[in-house]
Amino acid sequence: MSRLVLRCCLLLGYGLLFAPIAVIVLFSFNDPAGRFNLVWRQPTAANWLDPLSDPGLTGAFITSLLLALAASAVATVLGSLMAYALVRYRCRGERVVNLLLVLLLTTPEVVMGVSLLNLFVQLGVQRGLGTLLVSHSLFCLSFVALTVKARLGGIDWNLEDAAMDLGARPGRVFRLITLPRILPGVLAAALLSFSLSLDDVIVSSFTAGEAVTFPLYIAGAFQREISPQIHVLATMVLVASVAMLAAGSLRQLGVSSRFRAPASFARGSGSSG
């Protein structure tokens, strides 16, 4: 394949990926004619000066942020522990658990939503924030476990044993040896979970009950109103996550240049990153 063709493909691909993003950012500065911010009229900064003017939307956005925070915390702790257990201790059900993780990752969201709603109904659980938290933690769990597991693959466990030989207690070993090594993977997984939860429409539409998240509010309002504040908040989320991503990669660059030393180690831990 010639260079030129490849360049064109890249351009086309990125153009496709960023077209709706451009629309979102652009329309956050639109002054729509009616209740629907779907057709361009004229530029204004009013939406940005008053991003919280829609109380229903703002409430739903805050609900989503808190939910994403809680769900990613639960999923990160449970998922990391699971990954640690899978890598560190060979147990009998390991292959089954691995298969289940991959299955969970690839289960279509709609099946997950249907099965969870069915379970909640059969158990007689009131649908609301609690059921949202359970379902969001669940679909984040496999992402966390698999991401962290991939990172753990490159760690030299002799260091743990060495620390224990030198008389360090397990807690201390974990804090000083294990944690710093798995932290980048864990943080990446936590960020991923947060954005997965914040973004989720399909599972939530089944398990939310009366609770309203940011995407659910937009879905519900779609027939009545699409306010420009939706585009403003979406742009804010985008900017915040890009900033975090950039900070993360810069930090990683800094870390890797300081601890470059053993080449084999760097290659091992970098294989998945």
């Binding site: 890249l10 993003i21 979102i24 057709v39 279509p108 429409v201 995407p215 985008l238 996550s241 990669s249």
Partner: protein, 274 residues
Amino acid sequence: MALFFLLPLAALVRMSLSEQTQRFSLDAMFTGRVANYTEVLVQYGPVLWRSLAFAGVATLLCGLIGYPMAYAISRQGGRWKPLLLGLVVVPFFTSYLVRTIAWTTLLADQGPVLALLSWLGLVSPLERLGLVVEGRILNTAAAVIGGLTYNGLPFMVLPLVVSLEKIDPRLLEAAADLHARGGRTFRRVIWPLSLPGLLAGVLLTFIPAAGDLVNAQYLGGPGNRMIGNSLQNLLLVQNRYPAAAALGVVLMVMLSLLLVLSLGKLDRDSLTGP
């Protein structure tokens, strides 16, 4: 873990073999009623096939766009590689739903995509191909497939990059030493070695696409609904839990079968991305 995953599934299978005590009631009794399955297959069979076809076409398009992208990123990315990879992921940090709504703006009757197509004189040829219906793109099958393709693209590109990166450069040098030209090296060395990543990409694109309901709801018309929409309707509007459960089990079994069959061949590392 088993509790979280297997319990809902077991409950789903049980419900799929149950009967509602009365219409619209949430109470169901386990009666081993297999007829739930035949009924939903008759009623929703066409929608199920449409969903699989839409997802299949979207996956194919993702491959056609994604493979050259992944190839270009991994072979010619150079020091821009991390940035290029980051840019593939960035669009997905905005809300899925807001992105889909942005597509409705782009594809609207007075929108930029149709304007561009008519400026290029492509509207009537595309209409003949059935991609544009009565001068519209929104509310057609093409729009739904386009939306599914858009959402699947990063999940195709990332695993492909992972598996292309894994190819030992010494193999390419060896091929060159043996006087293989670029095209032949690609066909005989690069392509076969990238297949596990391609398979991972296909699964990560096809499975979510087959179960998607957002694109069909916002970009498609009433004639382009997918199986996800049917499930939502069965549960949240019609309250037909046993039927929905049976349909859910059918979808789950079909897609899991696909996964299990290909699990041995695919590149598992690339599932979690680079």
